[in-house]
Symmetry: D2
Subunit: 286 residues, 4 copies
């Protein structure tokens, strides 16, 4: 049995009558089967969002012809749209510093075929994770950063990203803040894991902040990076209970498990094109 010839279509546009009919009617006319489809009209912005997974069959036109013909419909409705192969694994570069739990988690998922991405390289301002990364057969770039070399180091990170054809940069507890220029360049293509339940406890040492405030629940947040620190569109969050007996170190330990799961989900949602940007927010078709 051959692999199905399957694609993901994502659409963002102004909301209008007949949008779903136009898209689904078009796919039917190409003899394509819709495996999965989600749409959402945001009443507060009148924007429409859609993600459809469809399969070409023998009678369907070639995918390039399908794309070319869809462009006409897309123009009518003012759509931003994309068709990607279901089988495409985005090229990912992971940036890490000295905390390796998220990196290890991503590598294990990738290694065991649970994460449909292609981890192309790991960059780090430290050399700590080299052995782990190289055991997985992945290139490790140690790019030290000092206050004076920071801008040059960031260029090196972006050079690695470009050189491997990077499609997604994952900041897996990377303790360097990207410049506004880098954030803009990587808009919607750079995911950070922040170790708090945003918008609580932005910035440095969030578990220390959580401890001092005496919260009864802590969390982690995966979001797209924007020039405003820790304010980008949230993709996923998760939380866990704590109480008065938990020290900052206990929260750090509990938080690690949250960070792993939240970041892995966000990367998976992104890789499967389930996340569409809606201004400063996100639409996530789970």
């Amino acid at each position: 049995m051959s692999t199905p010839d399957r694609y993901i279509l994502t659409i963002t546009c102004p909301d209008a009558t007949g949008l779903v009919a136009a898209v689904s009617g078009f796919l039917r006319d190409q003899s394509c089967f819709i495996d999965e489809s989600n749409q959402y009209g945001d009443p507060s912005t009148n924007r429409f969002f859609m993600r459809a997974v469809f399969t070409r069959i023998a009678q369907s036109p070639p995918i390039d012809k399908i794309k070319a013909d869809f462009a006409a419909i897309a123009k009518t409705f003012g759509m931003s749209w994309e068709v990607t192969s279901w089988h495409h694994k985005p090229r990912v570069v992971v940036a890490v510093s000295n905390f390796g739990h998220c990196l290890n988690d991503l590598l294990h998922r990738w290694h065991t075929g649970q994460m449909a991405v292609d981890i192309a390289a790991v960059v780090s301002n430290h050399d700590t994770m080299r052995s782990l990364v190289e055991w997985h057969g992945i290139a490790y770039h140690h790019l030290p950063a000092t206050p004076t070399t920071k801008p040059a180091q960031e260029r090196q990170v972006l050079d690695v990203f470009d050189a491997v054809g990077g499609e997604l940069l994952v900041l897996a507890r990377y303790m360097q803040v990207l410049s506004a220029e880098a954030c803009d360049r990587l808009q919607g293509r750079c995911i950070n894991i922040h170790h708090s339940f945003l918008p609580s406890f932005k910035g440095a040492r969030p578990y220390q902040q959580a401890f001092e405030r005496g919260v009864k629940i802590i969390g982690a947040t995966a979001h797209y990076v924007t020039p405003n620190l820790d304010e980008g569109p949230i993709i996923e969050q998760a939380v866990e209970r704590v109480d008065h007996t938990h020290t900052v170190a206990d929260m750090v330990s509990i938080g690690r498990d949250l960070e792993n799961v939240v970041l892995a989900r966000a990367v998976r949602y992104h890789a499967q094109r389930r996340v569409l940007l809606n201004g400063s927010k996100s639409v996530v078709f789970k």
Copy 2:
């Protein structure tokens, strides 16, 4: 500004190419706007499920004409389908025994306009809840049950249900098991709250069972009633942590809050036609 003329269309049928296109194309041709739409094809049964909320505008045909014309499409695809007014509030009868928390919760939601149902009557094998129910201006039917009168009492319950034009029977901690005949007659129209995380701890005294097993999490389950006790299609579940210090009474107390929330959600999902039956399981379009 006038109330929008809005409807809910629900569909179940064998999966096929062109289903979404047929439905959404039809609605577009009636100048109807799709406010919300969800669909799901179950790969394990090849059944297709859809729920669409649409709004008629001035140019649209009358709703009866829309329904009549849709019947032709429905026939082609072998659909079971229904069109209901978005504004229709299902007539609900609540059955209760001596634990009134779920009843009080439902009444409060209804009273404050948070639950779009029309509570038409409350039936009970006890007289305990009369005052509460009558304060809300709802008819209370005390229908005592003894082992010998049980079949007759069940007929009385069903008579009340019929007399008020009941569309949904909610067993809100009603401690009488319905006969197989009643279960069949009320298929998909009778929701029970079971005070355990099913399929664990079916039958009587589930918190006692949970206590004895030493579980670290307890739960509640809302499900459609079928002749097999506690085995009907699950609509919603929720859980809460417990530990060794919790007595059975503590679990009962924690469980009350779970039961309230789980039952209220299930009734709301049902009332908004978000629940479609899929054999012994349910599709819930949240």
Copy 3:
């Protein structure tokens, strides 16, 4: 069988060697049985916290003698301490505005014997909840507040609190901010429910704020009131998932269930003397 003669002892003091031994040895010497005991030494402040539930038996001295003798030990260790009857139900005044879900929930728990408090009165700046409250046989004080009458209205609230011998003021969605003087006077005796996962979204319209930020989880927080708005010691929090399809109204609706449960737990913990203040934080012995 007679009711056990049971007491709750709570202690806060500087941490020291021999504290538990002194307390438990003292209770043993009075022939008292310790039913439940929790203690916690905070390494970040070197403060010690303890709550012990004990039962007097026939051989035990009278409780007044026990208290008098314990005072000597308490002095040695610099303890703040209290002995309360296990059977004592704190006198509670509930303040409410136009959202009655928390009030209804507290009344139902009280009415059905699930909440060991004595609800002595309800005060409100609106008359909306009168019928519900009076059905429960509780005095309802409608104390309207305008910008000019606000200080006088607050005095009226406090007068009601004093007149009924109030021990705890519960702000159950009361939309008036208390003055700093009132907050100070009621320190550790006034619990507020805030409809966000603090410290996120302090102040007005937290669900609107949550919606705009695009968070994936919303929450509710019960805390003691202090002069700094929404910054008092947190007693309990709970959260629920949301996604892009949830409107502000949906969040308000989901939030209601969180608010009910979180506030009820906080009141129960307080009534059972499970909450001890630790600077700007709380120790909660569950």
Copy 4:
């Protein structure tokens, strides 16, 4: 600054007046500081459980003298008790088959100092995980099992356990059922992770069972192994929401994260002597 000379005392015995006083008074008389202490009297069995962490100072007697003197008190109250060094890391053998996520998770925690155990060896009926384990510098024993060699293979597993001085056997998705003899021999020293929310879905293919039942929440359970399959004392459980769109494969994937976290917590609780057996249940002092 030297490492504190710290110990963990665990006690199980019939409940009685004066127990806490006897233990805490004894520790005070040895000039030991109680860092942490939890106790619980089970009213349904009249058994008492205690765990205290204490620190010896310069004035304290040697630990062997402390233990010898405590034996007298222990005898009076009929205690089962143990004093262990806080710094002792239990010797752990991990058994695994072809699913390596729990193993990888445990190894990463151990490798980065987050799990205070000493992983002495990994045994497996497959050779799949050798490379991962040996990269961590741990001995890997490939012990194939066939229906006929199964008893001999189990002896080999136990021989490895004995040879390395094993104190805890962790079944980290080990797909071989231990014999009743092995279960008895390892009572309270063998932890299994079961991939369901027990007691639901015992035995084989729990995610398949969960899928077929249509549950809305799935879970994982860590428990001590007993001769009755999946019925041993539960140590920890966790759950995650699913819906109708989740396939068995999706549940397997979601379940992996639950299994990792639940097993890691159970091993940590056990290693820190936080788990005391209470018949077929457990007391877990978190």
